[in-house]
């Protein structure tokens, strides 16, 4: 493999404390190294450009059964966005639910190299990995949905945390997953019988366990197993006015489980969970108490779920919420139940500037991002494609970096929003360093990906170079320049290979699929007999056929984790 030398760029590497200093980055054999032989190395002149680690996305629905149903549901989404093939890339379609190859190319064009798919029904693991195998360039991983799984509910009901941990360890290996995902814990199980849970202390029918016990239980399991990421939680009551109370309760309920000030819970697409008001007419922003809480505590990380005013496709495992959305919008919809595990739903949705609720949602996400002081606690996402397609990230970056850009949006939103929103009063503008944190370093740190999100020696050579000169450009006054630079990376380098040059894909190698190989042998053998018996009782798939074999993954990258359970 050839070596690379990136010269004279303004380097932003927050994890190593580098803030816009002019320096050279050397790459050899796909890793960042101290120095290379300049005569042999390929030189990239990055003078007047910004050099950052490759982007990391902690939460984007890019693959899987539900995404694919979304593709089938939306031919009208594809017809307006067609990509012809090039000598290097395949053709593809899709605006809000792009086809797998197009997803890989578009992320790479924006300088992103690692993306996490956040919701895999364990039963659909094979489908998810098949689509991963067709998603080029990116390194990726997926989080199995475990918050409504019957086994988990049963173990937690009986307070058998260690056995639950053994089950989760087996599940992560069987589905080749990366973290524990909880979606509306308990609510999805209730939705199987047409119900839902009202709040965090409302017991789940047939199990008699509350969402609070599920969140706490899986949080303990996460700690026992030493998993690199925290539990990844989509809260109860998501998308309902007044739900900020539930969000606060969810964050509080694991406060005592935190150790050494490290995060133990990630509240995802927090915008959807920060609504105040009693109904849609009295709808309001509930960000203030959440921001106060997050600023005062270190055990929580969030991501934004920023709304973009566009036509998109909402899809989550939260079946009852999707049904609510169908009733609100009257659009076509899909809802499905996944045996004993979870459910899911899809509804196309259009966010409109002139709608009070939609523009308030825009404002809520902005308030969260701008008023939470520590950028290491909040990350940039749109919960692709729920609040907007990931291709709008550069636009969001320009909003975060420029008050002027935000004012321009506010000029055109609903007048009632203008009165209620806190955004016009906020002066804060993100620096490039903050942007590097919320788009890569912070996310990599929260995910526990040691070789991602930074440019230190030994890190994976995933590098993004943007044609943006912070010395000569006033970034806060030129949001369009910022947006354009982040839309089309001057270079994206993946594992030491140049994959994108001047916004065009020039090489499309296959990225890795990370999964956790959790070492908890003794406990696992103990539960395996019980599992076999229960599989025969509960599942349409046999215990032997359930796990995804490692050779099913195009490029398998297991991460070994030593659990604390024996």
């Amino acid at each position: 493999m050839t070596s690379l030398l990136i010269k004279n760029g303004f380097v932003f590497d927050p994890l190593n404390g580098v803030n816009g200093e002019k320096m050279d980055i050397a790459v050899e054999n796909g890793k960042i190294v101290e120095k290379v032989n300049e005569a042999e190395a390929k030189i990239i002149d990055a003078s007047g450009m910004v050099v950052m680690p490759g982007g990391v996305d902690i939460h984007a629905h890019i693959v899987g059964a539900k995404v694919n149903s979304g593709r089938l549901l939306r031919p009208e989404d594809h017809v307006k966005d067609v990509e012809p093939k090039t000598p290097v890339t395949r053709s593809g379609v899709g605006y809000s639910v792009p086809s797998t190859f197009t997803t890989g190319y578009r992320y790479a064009r924006m300088g992103y190299t690692t993306v996490m798919d956040p919701a895999m029904p364990p039963l659909k693991a094979r489908h998810t990995h098949e689509e991963f195998n067709d998603t080029p360039i990116l390194d990726k991983a997926t989080y199995p949905l475990l918050g409504d799984c019957w086994f988990v509910l049963e173990y937690l009901k009986q307070d058998r945390i260690e056995e639950c941990a053994a089950y989760v360890a087996w599940m992560l290996k069987a589905t080749k997953g990366y973290a524990i995902k909880l979606v509306n814990p308990g609510g999805l199980e209730a939705w199987g019988f047409g119900g839902n849970v009202r709040d965090i202390d409302d017991p789940v029918p047939n199990f008699g366990i509350t969402p609070r016990e599920i969140v706490r239980g899986l949080c303990k399991v996460n700690t026992l197993l030493n998993l690199p990421h925290t539990i990844h939680v989509h809260t109860n009551n998501l998308g309902k006015p007044g739900n900020y109370v539930t969000t606060l309760e969810t964050m509080r309920c694991v406060e005592d489980l935190a150790r050494d000030g490290k995060p133990v819970i990630h509240i995802t697409h927090c915008q959807f969970s920060a609504f105040a008001g009693d109904d849609w007419r009295t709808f309001d922003s509930g960000t203030e108490p959440i921001i106060k809480y997050v600023n005062a505590h270190s055990h929580v990380t969030l991501d934004m779920g920023q709304v973009v005013f566009t036509d998109t496709t909402t899809m989550t495992a939260d079946g009852p919420f999707q049904f609510l959305l169908y009733e609100l919008s009257g659009n076509k919809w899909v809802n499905s139940d996944v045996e004993t595990e979870t459910c899911s739903g899809i509804v196309p949705f259009q966010y409109r500037r002139k709608s009070f609720v939609h523009s308030m949602q825009w404002s809520i996400a902005m308030e969260l991002a701008l008023l939470i002081q520590d950028p290491w606690k909040i990350f940039l996402t749109t919960d692709h494609p729920n609040a907007g397609p990931f291709t709008h990230y550069p636009r969001i970056i320009s909003w975060l970096m420029s008050r002027k850009a935000r004012e321009k949006i506010l000029e055109r939103v609903n007048k009632k929003t203008l009165r209620k929103s806190l955004v016009p009063t906020i002066d804060r503008e993100y620096t490039l360093h903050d942007i590097a944190v919320v788009t890569r370093a912070g996310q990599a740190k929260a995910l526990g990906l040691k070789s991602k999100g930074h440019l230190g020696i030994g890190a994976d050579a995933d590098i993004a170079i943007y044609a943006l000169n912070p010395e000569t450009t006033d970034l806060s006054r030129k949001p369009a320049t910022v947006r354009k630079a982040f839309e089309r990376a001057a270079y994206t380098i993946k594992d030491g290979n140049i994959v994108v040059k001047n916004g065009e894909v020039v090489n499309a190698p296959m990225g890795r699929t990370f999964w956790l190989n959790v070492d908890a042998p003794k406990a696992e053998i103990e539960i395996s007999k019980i599992l076999q018996q229960k599989f025969a009782e509960y599942y349409t798939v046999s215990y032997q056929n359930y796990p995804v074999p490692e050779d099913y993954l195009a490029v398998s990258a297991p991460i070994h984790v030593k659990a604390e359970v024996e």
Binding site: L73, R74, P75, E76, V79, N331, K332
Partner: protein, 274 residues
């Protein structure tokens, strides 16, 4: 007036994507520049001049542009797509997607038109002297945004799904219509002077459908409201009498469905419910 005449040089076997045959694309171009415009024949990229004879005629009067296309155009699709101004006259039968997403101007077809005529159009007028195929003024597959303005007049018959997901505008059919006229319609008006095969206005949210001829039945999700002597269509009265149905109740719709009383004596049992 400038008249540009086109005629196919040969019979086409594969579909020709002729989005460039619009007054907008021809405007302020010389004949040689027009001949250089790109069209697709199947998966081959061709020049307009390779496939069509092109000639120009200038007459006194206004400066407007008229395109006349004559011959067998059944394989030629997307003529007049997205046009905003000018006029197109087609002598012969024409292929699918004529005037798709057009915003202004006028298209006249002296012959028949195939499916997707004027789909998603926003403005302008299309007049077809013969018949039209399915999905007239319809939305793209899966979309709920159909015709959003303008006017379509068809002197012959239309196929199924005319006015699918229509939002605004007018469709007048002098002949008969197939099934599902005005399906998923939100607003706008459809007048069918002939018979209709049935299931008119399924899933409609709003708008108006008038059928002057025979219909086999009305969907059970419509409820009878009144008997009207006449109905206003584009400000002009259409003499009846008509049964007025409201629906589609499946979607809590407020659409109006007028069915002529005289040719539909078999629907008289509805009067008992009034």
């Amino acid at each position: 007036m400038t008249i540009i005449k086109l005629a196919p040089k040969r019979a086409f076997k594969t579909p020709v994507n002729a989005q460039t045959i619009t007054p907008d694309a021809f405007q302020e171009k010389t004949m040689s520049e027009i001949a250089e415009l790109h069209v697709w024949e199947g998966n081959r990229r061709r020049k307009l001049g390779e496939l069509f004879h092109i000639s120009e005629e200038k007459t006194a009067g206004s400066e407007s542009l008229r395109i006349e296309v004559s011959g067998d155009l059944r394989k030629v699709r997307w003529i007049g797509a997205k046009m905003t101004t000018g006029e197109i006259i087609i002598n012969g039968d024409v292929g699918m997607h004529l005037g798709e997403e057009m915003e202004g101007g006028k298209i006249t077809v002296n012959g028949n038109a195939e499916a997707w005529l004027g789909s998603m159009m926003h403005g302008g007028t299309i007049e077809v002297k013969g018949n039209a195929g399915d999905y007239v003024a319809s939305a793209y597959r899966g979309s709920t945004r159909g015709m959003n303005g303008g006017k379509i007049i068809i002197h012959g018959n239309v196929g199924n799904d005319a006015g699918n997901a229509m939002r605004k505008g007018v469709i007048i059919v002098h002949g008969n219509a197939g099934q599902f006229a005005g399906v998923n319609m939100h607003d706008g008006a459809i007048l069918i002077k002939g018979n209709c095969e049935g299931r008119m206005g399924a899933d409609m949210h709003g708008g108006k459908i008038v059928v002057c001829g025979h219909v086999k039945s009305v969907l059970p999700s419509f409820t009878i409201e009144a008997v009207r002597k006449r109905v206003k269509f584009e400000g002009e009265p259409v003499e009846g009498p008509f049964y007025l149905f409201l629906g589609d109740l499946n979607t809590k719709g407020k659409g109006k469905l007028f069915i002529a009383k005289n040719p539909n004596q078999h629907l008289s049992f509805y009067e008992k419910l009034l």
